[in-house]
Amino acid sequence: MKKFTLSKPAKDRYITYGMLAVIALVVQLYITYGDASRSFKGLLVPTCVYILAAIALNLVVGISGELSLGQAGFMCIGAYVGSTFSVMTEELIASSALRFPLALLLGGMVAAVFGFLIGIPVLRLRGDYLAIVTLAFGEIIKSVFNNIYLSTDKNGLFFSIGVESKANHEFDAATQVDYIKGAMGISGTPRDSTFLICMVVIFIAMFVMLNFIDSKQGRAVMASRDNRIAAEAMGVNVTRAKMTAFVMSAFFAGVAGVLYSHNLNTLQASTFNYNLSIQILVFVVLGGMTKMRSVMIATIILYVLPEALRGFNLSNYRMLIYAIALIAMMLINNSAAIKRVREFLRAKFARNKNVGGEV
């Protein structure tokens, strides 16, 4: 009998896609036909942004086994590049259906270029250098963007880092337009990010990443993670493998940044601080660092929980409850009892399946 079979990773992928589709559908129906509160609607895009940033970081932390503390830096680059592009071309490209994808791609690509430049020296080294360098990178990016000025007037484009040179510059006041205003950031970004677009982007990102993991390049990355010496002895170019994962991660973090910035009236670089990087890392670590799907679920729980608690009388205790949730998830992830339950369930399902196969 000819039977249509899927490999184990393929089956796993379809479960993830199904889950994404169900979430997108249910939430979209709820905000269209249900009486979703304003705060609920306000949470949707940021949640998607964090999901995307977290699964992107999981490529580095979980799949490639390197610690990166600079996810906020890549998001910042994506956010600024995407926003500037959208603001500058808002009149040129009237249709947001065309402009926004371009902004997403551009933001992601610039972030990827930065990822590549950082990766060149760091990924050749063994050890925790990536963590140190990305930590510094995030801080540097934040400070640089805090001091960038970009304006145009009839004489052309003006760009400076630091406020002094702008103060000394003579603008043609009638035609002067400020795009990036230092610590004041960028304002007037078209609010193109909608929940549905975000879900589509997450879906595409998930599709690409999961496909990547189940390919020879993805296997090379995981082999380098599990045992560098053996990977080299099997002909795996470890530096290239890690670089691929790191640049992909930077790209999707950049895209997340673009989504984020197109949901805000005013974008400021100070948002993309160290805390944000750590918060995303927490999502990844408590998501178990292996499956993209678990990281996504952990992000939803850990991001939505403290926000949801704002609405209740418990709001004074919300960070306390958040902390308890963190500890609980950590224990659940690692407890022997839960592992036994999981093994038991797996064995049980496997047995049922075999019985079904024989009939």
Partner: protein, 254 residues
């Protein structure tokens, strides 16, 4: 022509001469043993052959190609694959994926094709998966292809390492103490597997081993190392009865 030839191979770590003036000559299809007491420098020889260490003197030729100055990845591509004394599997990957990593350089498709699983990806992945499962069958591991490598029992982990090395399609297979930690039954089974690999894949095998039953049972030729220098070499039976070798292993008869 010999498939592997080293001339005057030496390495020095500071003042310590770990291996000196080693001449190895292994013909195609041979099962060659490298033995010697602990600390004799056997694994160091493997590390030089695979590019983990660069020799400080002498030359290594594989099938006429000089390996001096090449890194482990290049050497693997030229045709040397190895296993490790302390098992180095890709523990969090499935048994099947461990072997498929080995096939990585023999299949060609671009990153873009991996992202969308299109083009050459489909055909090549199908071929490589079939090849990998075939290889796992040889080592009786195909029943556990979805198990994580770190969850395999010890004996099977050793076998998986050999399977993974075979997947890189080597000309020369280096086995570093394949029977370490195995019980007599497992060792006997391993001997059959090694013989099978040699006969069916037309493989040349160089192995390090302490288990004399295994060495005597399957190796055709031996080189004995002691304190980094060659103590004896030749046919297995002669070498194992060489009084110098016996002395090196069990000490002087007072």
């Amino acid at each position: 022509m010999a498939i592997l030839e080293t001339n005057d191979l030496s390495i020095q770590f500071g003042g310590l001469k770990a291996v000196s003036h080693l001449d190895l000559k292994i013909e195609k299809g041979e099962l060659y043993g490298l033995i010697g007491p602990n600390g004799a420098g056997k694994t160091t020889v493997f590390n030089m052959l695979t590019g983990v260490y660069q020799p400080t003197g002498g030359t290594i030729y594989l099938d006429g190609v000089c390996l001096n100055g090449k890194n482990p990845v290049e050497i693997n591509k030229l045709g040397i694959a190895r296993t490790f004394q302390n098992i180095r599997l890709f523990g969090k990957m499935s048994v099947l994926d461990n072997v498929r990593v080995g096939f990585g350089n023999s299949i060609k498709y671009s990153l873009l094709e991996s992202f969308f699983h299109v083009g050459r990806y489909r055909k090549n992945e199908k071929v490589v998966t079939e090849k990998a499962i075939e290889l796992l069958k040889v080592f009786d591991l195909d029943g556990e292809k979805d198990t994580l490598a770190s969850n395999l029992p010890y004996g099977k982990q050793r076998k998986l390492e050999i399977a993974r090395a075979m997947a890189t399609n080597p000309k020369l297979l280096l086995l570093d103490e394949p029977a370490a930690g195995m019980n007599p039954n497992e060792t006997a089974e391993l001997m059959n597997t090694i013989r099978f690999v040699r006969d069916n894949f037309d493989m040349t095998i160089l192995l390090i081993e302490h288990d004399m039953k295994l060495v005597g049972g399957i190796c055709e030729k031996l080189t004995v190392l002691n304190f980094g220098t060659e103590l004896a070499k030749g046919n297995t039976a002669e070498v194992l009865h060489d009084p110098r070798v016996i002395t090196a292993y069990i000490g002087e008869d007072e």
